[in-house]
Amino acid sequence: MNNLKKNNFRILVLILISLGIVACQDETGSTDKIEKIGYVKSSTNSIVDIIAKAKNSLAKAAEVGFEWSSTAPLIKQAVEAENSGNSKLALELANKAIKESENSLVQAKYADEHWQDHAIN
């Protein structure tokens, strides 16, 4: 009986710890989410901030020489959409631009580490 109580107590502690971790993760804010997954859903971020983030990501890709030609036009379109009041489209385009820049950085890293895998000599 004592063992059963102990087990129940342990399970309860585990659940509380798990809930605590989840709560902490939510408190880290949307900026960290952009860094990790690149896609912003939170309405707390203004479109202007997200477009700025897209421009920043693009600059990083350009710095390593792996900028995609399709990314800058997406940001331009996002700005135009925002200026015309279509925030939903602006958010969608800016997020797409962020994702593209992140993919180009992944591509640069892969090239740096694996280019010789594709060489004939």
Binding site: A62, G65, F66, E67, W68, S69, S70, A72, E100, Q107, Y110, A111, W115, Q116, H118, A119, I120, N121
Partner: protein, 292 residues
């Protein structure tokens, strides 16, 4: 007991694998060139071997004609075009510009005194003073700047015409590019890395189109081999309607795979040209050329 036996077998297997891998690695190291000069020579040989194996009926020296070396029908059309070469006027314009004096009374001939004997075959070269690759086009603009003139655009136009004249004067000379020191080898390796690195939204490397699947159709076009690419530069492309430099072509290739082109005559493209020209070492200069 069984567990102990299993553990012993596990460790013996691991040690055997390790010994085997060391042995294999040491064998591989034995095959590695002892210095950078040997490494470059080995690269050139393996690069050529790749194309001669892929196109066994094509003489190695024919690769200077690009895609027209590997496709007979395209070659026939090209030879007809060459009878009234579309770049002739550009070469004449380039020659005229080359002979004109700068405002200070000097001219290009002061920078390139041996132009009539042919100089293209020695470009690009690695400048051991400034530790960078110098291409013909960069040298033309350096000449202008030193003499107080405004530099020309690197892609097409007047500079490409002058470059065309320099190539024309160097026809049939054989490429003789040197790797004079370790810094030069670093530039060469940077160019090699660029050549094999996948870029753009379509995730293509230069090597993907112009090495691995060279000779294949890409829509209506046949992909030309990278071997011999630099011999025919600058190139008159029908779709451009004028002469353009090798770097203009690099930029176009980058655009095609949806990568943003890099700066013309920037370090990356110059290193790429250095690597690519070294791979075509010993081949004849036949620029300017015409392509679709």
């Amino acid at each position: 007991m069984n567990l102990i036996k299993k553990n012993k077998i596990y460790w013996l297997t691991n040690i055997a694998s390790l010994l085997l891998s060391v042995s294999v690695n040491s064998q591989n190291n034995d095959e590695q060139p002892s210095n950078y000069q040997d490494a470059v020579i080995q690269d050139i040989q393996e690069f050529r071997d790749f194309y001669t194996n892929k196109f066994p009926n094509i003489d190695i020296n024919e690769f200077k004609d690009g895609v027209y070396a590997i496709d007979e029908k395209s070659r026939e059309q090209w030879l007809e075009i060459e009878e009234f070469a579309p770049y002739e006027i550009s070469v004449e314009d380039g020659e005229e510009a080359f002979g004109q004096n700068f405002a200070n009374g000097k001219s290009y001939i002061d920078c390139f005194p041996n132009v009539e004997d042919g100089i293209r075959q020695n470009y690009p070269y690695f400048d051991t003073q400034t530790n960078q690759v110098i291409t013909v086009e960069l040298a033309i603009n350096q000449c202008r700047v030193v003499n107080g003139e405004v530099p020309l655009a690197f892609g097409k136009g007047k500079l490409a015409d002058i470059s065309g004249y320099i190539s024309f004067s160097s026809r049939e000379k054989t490429l003789n590019i040197k790797v004079p020191n370790e810094q030069a080898y670093e530039s060469y390796m940077a160019g090699k890395k660029f050549f094999y690195s996948k870029r753009g939204q379509l995730n293509f490397a230069c090597a993907d189109c112009h090495l691995q699947i060279a000779g294949s159709m890409l829509r209506a076009d046949i992909l030309g081999p990278a071997l011999g690419h630099p011999t025919g530069m600058p190139v008159y492309r029908s779709k451009w309607g004028e002469l353009g430099t090798l770097h203009a072509r690099y930029a176009e290739c980058n655009k095609n795979v949806r990568a943003k082109p890099l700066e013309l005559q920037g370090e990356s493209y110059r290193n790429l040209e250095y690597f690519q020209t070294i791979m075509s070492q010993g081949m004849q200069v036949n620029g300017p050329s015409s392509r679709k």
